[in-house]
Symmetry: C2
Subunit: 216 residues, 2 copies
């Protein structure tokens, strides 16, 4: 199945023409976003926490300390909503009313599960690491059994999801196009800067290509 069913959970209500339900669009956003925001309910209270993530097929994987409230909550099988949002630009219409943003956002719904088995746990950690910096896993010092034990890894199989995408120039009211007001798009880009070597870096170690030429 290449698209998610449109249900009460994931239906894009406002501006439904911006809604997308296909995995290709949704997962491209999930994979490009550096971080996600995880929402959960404790009692009646909503919480939202930013965290790093990885994706393995139809599952989002997350990790944290064994003592983390978020991780324990997800590991216990509770419902979560996960948002990944990419801001592409300001849309400056002539009217305030039609001003907007260009963006690509995905919201995913599922219930958590604990990932405990050794090989699966390591694969999930590798997915998170490679999500942030592809190539790093092969270079870095991998987790020891003690470190693995201190880490809680959870998965959220994606039950439902949708994306919302806006692109292109502003859309003003027809009579406003005659106004002497500048209009257009101010694009934004998340850009990697020059890497800063650790002050304690051993001499003669160059930054690897996946750091020097980082792209998302």
């Amino acid at each position: 199945m290449d698209t998610f069913d449109k249900t009460a959970l994931n239906r894009v209500r406002r501006l439904p023409e911006r809604g997308r339900y296909d995995r290709e669009t949704i997962y491209a956003i999930v994979d490009e976003g550096l971080i996600c925001h995880v929402a959960f309910v404790d009692g009646d209270q909503p919480f939202v926490i930013p965290t790093i993530h990885g994706r393995l097929g139809d599952e989002i994987v997350l990790h944290g300390a064994r003592a983390s409230r978020l991780m324990k909550h997800i590991a216990a099988g509770n419902a979560v909503a996960i948002a990944v949002t990419l801001v592409d630009g300001l849309v400056l219409a002539r009217s305030v009313f039609h001003s907007s943003m260009n963006y690509r956002s995905a919201v995913l719904f599922g219930h958590g599960r604990l990932i405990e088995e050794g090989a699966e746990k390591l694969a999930a950690l590798e997915a998170v690491s490679e999500h942030l910096a592809r190539g790093r896993w092969a270079d870095a010092r991998l987790p020891t059994p003690k470190e693995l034990d201190a880490t809680l890894v959870v998965g959220v199989p994606i039950d439902s999801a949708s994306a919302k995408v806006r692109t292109g120039p502003p859309g003003d009211d027809e009579e406003d196009y005659a106004l002497p007001i500048w209009a257009g798009v101010l694009p934004f880009q998340m850009q990697a800067q020059a890497p800063l070597a650790d002050p304690r870096l051993r001499e003669g170690i160059d930054a690897p290509d996946y750091v020097k030429h980082y792209v998302r």
Copy 2:
């Protein structure tokens, strides 16, 4: 009061040394972030939606269409959690275990209210507009009574909040500093690109300075 009380709601549980409770730190993050993520509960189900925001003193202001579920939910006085997150860089430690991100994140808690009175509603819309592009409000065509009527504006007075901040180089285990692995920080920056004029822009209108020299 310049700091928020530390309570069960806002206490930074993991890595408490990264926690901040002062308004100055928290509001600087809120004001720099282009967007926020709003979490709310409908039934038992958590939802999270990205949206643009403004801040007026100790209140977050948001707007949307009158039909928006999120806006109606907030206007009805329900509890929300709002996150604003700035990603400053990848922290590449020699070990996967100590790898991290440099970030500044704020999470705010409150209950919504409808902002209906004309002058207050307009001030809130101005705050959102100026939050995105300072100077735009004075240039753009302001909302008509009909547009105002189609827009729902809500406020979330901030009852509780905290921030979490990580900066600086990786912190590896002492014995790992001898490893022949590059370590350091890859800084990220959200950068405005060259403005793209609307294809239907009238001739002879230059992009204003707040667009050409956009800074956050």
